[in-house]
Every structure is written in C-alpha cells, then in structure tokens.
Symmetry: C2
Subunit: 155 residues, 2 copies
DNA sequence: GTCTTATTTGAAATTATATTTCGATAGTGG
DNA sequence: CCACTATCGAAATATAATTTCAAATAAGAC
C-alpha cells in the first residue's frame, strides 16, 4: 500500500528522475535515509519500472510520427508471435498494441520523412496483412509519461 | 554534430538514466570527465529532453489503455486552444495528437476500468465533437521510449 | 608543412550524493 | 504492559559528480 509520502515521491520522480535523495526528502518532508529506503522499496516492488532518458525526436532527424492501423486475416499464435518479433527489431517502431474493435493492431512509429515511412511500410507488409493504413501526426498537443496517482486504493 | 561516442552515450542513457558517469565512460571508452562534459552538452543542446521515471500502470490501478479518435466540426484556433487546455489538465490523458486524414485528434489515455473510461468520455464530449470512438488495448506487444539513432547525418 | 588558436582530453582534487549503520521511536497483537 | 516488528533520523562511510589544470589534439591560416 502506498501512503501519501510514497505518492509524493512518485509524483516528483515521474517528472524528474535525476532529483537527489536529499532534494526529494526535503520536498516530501522526511529524512534522507527514510526517503532512500522508500525509493528502494518502490523499485523492488516494481511500482518503479525504470528510469529513462527522453530525447528530442526532431534533433535526431525524426520529425514525423505516424500511427499505423493494421487488419490481418492471420489470427493464430504462431503468426502473432512472429509478427511481434519482426516489429520488436525495427527501432523506428515505438509501440505495438493489439486492439479491440475493428482494427487488429495499432503501431506508433517515428520516421524522417515520407520516403522513410514508405521504407517502414514495406517492411511491415511482408507479413500477411489484409489492411494497413497510416495517419500522420501534424502536431502533438500533449505528451507525458507521467501516470495519474489518483486511482490508488486509499490508505 | 553527434559523433560515435555521443551516440553510444545516448543509446545507453535512453535505456537507463541511472547509469553513473563512470560506468558510461567505461562503456564508450573515454575518461569520466570527458564523458561528463559530453552529457552536459547533450543536455544543453536539447538532444536530451529530460530524465523520467516510468511507473507500472497496473500497480497504479490503471490496467486499461484506450485510444480515443475524435472528429469535430470546430476548426478555429480559439476552440482548439481551449480543447488543448482542457485535455492538458486531465491526468489520465497521456497523449493528444492532431492528425492528418479523416480523424482530427487521437488521444491516448489510461483508466481503471470501463466506468473509468466512461467518466473520461463524459469529460471529453463537453467540447463540441461530432464523433468520438474508442479502441481499447488488449495487449501491448512493444513499448519503448528509446528513439533510433540511425537517422542522424553521418559525421 | 608548420605555426597559431581553439577544442577536447585525462588525472587528480574537491565537492556532493548515495548507502550503510545503529540506536531511538512508534505502532500491533497478545 | 510486554515482546515484536517496522520505520525512523543522525551520523559515518562509500561512491559518484563536478571542477581544475596541464597536456594532447584538431582546425585553419599562411
């Protein structure tokens, strides 16, 4: 069970993984050692998954984000597993979700430009897909990795 | 311009923001101080955006991810700006993109369950939207924040 | 080529931070 | 009230970040 202080720590850490234990301790009002142990526990328990560095896609020559919707007529496990492995190895592909509803998979990818998208497209359709359609991101109006902590059971 | 060593540093840091300068220095084969300065420059130049902590949605009672597609008949700047502000303040909403093609906006959100989605839906449709449809994530097959460094101009 | 200048480097010193230790405190069940 | 357990804070120790400075390297200018 996560108490108020754990939540506060998580709130701060979601925004900045580089904060020192000392800073955090001050922010949530406890000693450094208590704070440090809290963080350890949050890591051990898996609430904290990992600490990552986010880069600027534009600066990496990846200004175009695309969502690719896929329908397939292949629905067996073996095909699905192979599809997963292919996509896992393509670094431009950031997310792959199996979806409810009329589309089967939704993919998020980053590319340099339209020719870049076309190269990606050609890789993907090697699998047996009945329908592939792309929507391009014109403008990202919000983008955060911070999850709300408001749905936890009350202490 | 990012040379081989910068790229290697970024590669490692994307995977783990918690690596020490010493470890990184060893991995890419340079001294600690050189390594430290490289990282500073990458931060100053904005290639490194931020370091964040990723949490486990399930452990936060947010097992359901949903993509919400929106069409609207409102296309003026003022409406758009207001829409943005409303969405920015809803913590369950992680991403909002203005899209090309037949849908206007694509939203990614996390919720506890279907009633949770319904509450979110009701908040969103307060805006003047002509069409809102949801697709739920059954299974996330890939999810990374690491961008490919393979599209940078060669040194 | 070689001189000059501006960058970048590595080792060592310094400063700051993470981690451990240990005794004190507070809550729990019997 | 006592024994037990979990948590705490302050201080000690171990690691790591940051700065300093002299040497090495790269980039032009001629």
């Amino acid at each position: 069970m996560l108490d108020r202080q754990d939540r506060q720590l998580l709130e701060w850490l979601q925004g900045d993984a580089g904060l020192s234990v000392g800073d955090l301790a001050e922010k949530v009002g406890m000693s450094k050692s208590a704070c440090w142990r809290r963080i350890q526990k949050l890591e051990e328990s898996g609430v904290i998954r990992q600490r990552v560095t986010l880069l600027d896609p534009e600066k990496l020559n990846l200004p175009l984000t695309v969502y690719i919707s896929i329908r397939t007529n292949q629905h067996n496990d073996q095909w699905s597993e192979q599809f997963r492995e292919v996509l896992a190895d393509i670094p431009e592909i950031l997310e792959v979700h199996r979806m409810s509803g009329d589309l089967d998979y939704l993919i998020k990818a980053v590319v340099t430009d339209m020719p870049g998208y076309d190269r990606l497209y050609r890789q993907i359709i090697r699998a047996n897909l009945s329908d592939v359609s792309a929507s391009f991101v014109m403008e990202t109006m919000k983008h955060t990795t911070a999850l709300p902590l408001t749905h936890l059971p009350t202490v």
